[in-house]
Symmetry: C2
Subunit: 115 residues, 2 copies
DNA sequence: CTGGATCCAAGTTGATACTG
DNA sequence: CAGTATCAACTTGGATCCAG
């Protein structure tokens, strides 16, 4: 699912920390709960997800809303600023998929420094 | 000069490692020598510049040409692939300068977690 | 001039266990 | 459910010294 962004660090373009780009993608179509975010981001730990979300929040890209109730519930959603990031993010993804094969070729070619 | 890109890590958008984006900007208008690159990139050490350039070269974004002679001379220039990166890079810069104030505001505002 | 080698401080990521 | 605390591992960037 998140291959187009930072599959194996092939794309030189990065948004925030390791997971920030993917988190923003997850929030693209509306608010998501903490647990919902963990599903597509297989492998992320609670701590790291929290950390990434806190950074995004501090930078004004994501808003956090806690709902009191029998079971705790917290939702995250993109702020207008965060949503505006989708444009350059799309541009980055477009570039990556457009030059995908060139990137792979470059990696494969030892070109001048073998090994 | 390089304020628009990664001034004080304000922009969440990054190209490659810490210096890669700036190096690409330096090569935008033609080949540059190793020493020429060190001028605008105040503070970069030879090792780190070499390291960044090697990574860019390995990824097929930059080409290295060495000229034998009385004094050693090496030139770096963008490959077509590297040049194509200028588009998303411009998009990123445009976004950053457009939302500059919002980014600063977000940082300044303690909003919910003071201190 | 253009780096390579070495060492090191600092930041990042993650595994694991625990909490209101 | 939504985190926090702690510790370990890895990665980065840089300082310094040295070399073709």
């Amino acid at each position: 699912m998140f291959d187009p962004l930072c599959p194996s660090d092939l794309s030189p373009i990065r948004i925030g920390d390791k997971w920030a780009g993917m988190i923003i993608r997850c929030l693209e179509h509306g608010p998501r709960r903490f647990s919902e975010l963990r599903v597509p981001l297989r492998g992320i730990t609670a701590k790291v997800l929290t950390q990434s979300l806190r950074t995004l929040e501090r930078n004004g890209l994501v808003a956090r809303t806690a709902y009191a109730g029998p079971t705790q519930r917290v939702e995250y959603e993109l702020t207008p600023l965060g949503r505006s990031l989708l444009e350059p993010l799309d541009a980055a993804c477009a570039w990556a998929s457009e030059h995908w094969d060139e990137l792979i070729d470059a990696r494969e070619a030892p070109s001048s420094f073998a090994q």
